[in-house]
Amino acid sequence: MTTTSTDDPAAQDTTGSGGLRLRDVSLTLGDGDTAVTALDHVELTVAPGEFVAVVGPSGSGKSSLLAVAGGLQRPTSGTVHIAGTELTALSDKDRTAARRRHIGFVFQQSNLLASLTVREQLLLPLHIDGRLGAAGRTRAGELIEAVGLAHRAGSRPHQLSGGERQRAGLARALMTSPAVLLVDEPTSALDRERSAEAVRLIAEQTHRHGTATVMVTHDTAIMDAADRVYEMVDGRLS
């Protein structure tokens, strides 16, 4: 994978600080006859504190959008800016560092580590970044409180319900005060009522912490909480 950006990275940053901006981003997977266009000239700007939902059927490129926005994958062309930094111009190592400092992920099924308690799940990102301290512990306590898991702080994932895991995953993503929060199908394992509650919580945290949040989902019932809704079809955003 190569970046085909030809412009000066510094000159491209016109969003100032904060937020997420994808500019003319395309992603082609595979090559030759089997090549698939996952993202097709996507333009997307999300301001700090804004909650954007992207809906679309499976296979429409939603996950690719998150992978590229979150620095997990380099786009074939186009640029991604996060908190004023051009993610697409960074080395692999710096991209990894940018992921742990500026990007919060909430994964499908919430992806918690089996051996850690809820509190430890939250402390992990700070430990990875080498700045686990008293302030971090305080913040973990506050976030656990905010997502309503105070009574579950010492529980391990197998003791939690699907909704509780999802909330723990959200709290973990917020631990590093990320500029950008990327949420992948948060409600796939939840019933309707729990889904609405989870999304409401994401919206609330987005506004409170001023993150630029992108949520991808195929569940059109949960879009009400979003500030803006995009639809994705065949790699195109509209």
Binding site: A98, L116, P125
Partner: protein, 375 residues
């Protein structure tokens, strides 16, 4: 170790099982080391105790030289005049059977590894009880192994066949043996009577012979010329251990068993951590997606490996030491700290290498899989 320790606690059943395998191998490692040291002591502690640097054998003897080599008086005389040679003296070595004919254990059969030497040479024993050997005295100084059979200073033994009378004049209370037989020190003439199985007057030729020349050489002394002139070959004392019966076979067998043991251990540890790492793949992808550098995950995984190996080896070594202590005296067994430390070190070192090969898979895990959706 943030994650490693919590994984150890969370999956303790699996880690305890794997640790138990390593611990059992460590037990076996200690016991084998003890047995190897014990066998070595029984085989060559008599040679080890000799205050020499080299031993020169008849060059025509190529194996078990201590029973096959013969050197002449001219040889040790030539050696003692050669440059770089501090001392050279005749040394006799023979295995014989004798019977206690006077003493408390009268009638008891005794095996003796008889070392013959000049009574005034540094090779001669310094008894802790009784007196030393004398020229043509027919006296012997026994060691602990023989004393353990009930033989005491003042007893008289009679050698089988030759009927040579051996008076026990002294005791060295060290367990000094050769070829699994207790050592008895004798003057050269007494040794010759036993070696040739001849009582009474010895033939002229026999009086001028010994098994080998015991040498004290200066560091780096060039001895090729004197070797050539005398038709002998000087081996270092350590090399000469291999010239005693069974020593090479015993030590190489033990080394082979230990080698296999360590290889098996490394493979078991490697296999365990391969399965463990493969199982953890989704978690590793998640860690990478959260921005953990590969180095962070590798360090965590290796800390876990080392923690498991060190704990298991420590437990196994402790159990091995307890079992081994109970075996001392009942089997050729001796515990030597360097041998046990080497055994434990190899177990940990090779296990770590096995595990490193396994956890290297961490490098290849793609964080993208954490998104877990088909695109």
């Amino acid at each position: 170790m943030f994650l490693a320790l919590r994984d150890l606690r969370f999956a303790r059943g699996r880690f305890v099982l794997m640790g138990a395998v390593v611990a059992l191998i460590a037990v076996l490692g200690v016991l084998l080391s003890g047995l190897a040291s014990g066998l070595a002591d029984a085989g060559i502690s008599g040679l080890r105790a000799l205050p020499v640097t080299h031993i020169a054998f008849d060059e025509e003897a190529t194996s078990e030289q201590f029973s096959r080599s013969t050197v002449e008086q001219e040889d040790w005389e030539a050696w003692s005049k050669a440059p770089g040679v501090n001392r050279a003296e005749p040394f006799g070595n023979t295995l014989t059977n004798a019977q206690v004919t006077e003493g408390a254990e009268k009638g008891e059969q005794v095996n003796l590894a008889v070392f013959g030497m000049a009574p005034d040479s540094p090779l001669a024993p310094k008894p802790t009880e009784g007196e030393g050997i004398e020229d043509a005295g027919g006296g012997i100084v026994i060691t602990q192994e023989i004393a353990d059979l009930g033989v005491r200073v003042g007893d008289v033994l009679t050698a089988d066949k030759s009927e040579v009378r051996l008076k026990v004049v002294g005791l060295v209370d060290d367990p000094v043996s050769y070829g699994h037989i207790g050592v008895a020190y004798a003057d050269l003439d007494t040794w010759r009577h036993l070696h040739y199985g001849l009582p009474g007057e010895l033939p002229e030729a026999a009086l001028r012979q010994a098994t080998a020349v015991a040498l004290t050489l200066e560091d780096g002394a060039g001895v090729t010329a004197v070797e050539k002139a005398t038709g002998t070959r000087a081996d270092s004392k350590e090399t000469s251990y291999g010239a005693s019966p069974g020593y090479t076979a015993e030590s190489s067998t033990m080394a082979l068993i230990k080698g296999f043991l360590y290889a098996i251990s490394a493979l078991v540890v490697g296999a365990f951590f391969t399965v463990w790492t493969v199982q953890r793949k989704p978690e590793i992808a998640l860690l990478k997606a959260l921005g953990a550098p590969t180095r962070y995950i590798l360090r965590d995984a290796l800390a876990q490996v080392v923690a498991v190996l060190v704990t298991a080896t420590a437990v196994g070594t402790a159990v091995g030491l307890a079992l081994g202590s109970a075996m001392i005296g009942k089997a050729p067994f001796s515990l030597s700290a360097p041998a046990i430390a080497t055994s434990a070190g190899l177990l940990i070192g090779l296990g770590t290498i096995g595990a490193v090969v396994a956890v290297r898979r961490i490098t290849a895990v793609d964080p993208l899989t954490a998104l877990g959706a088909t695109r």
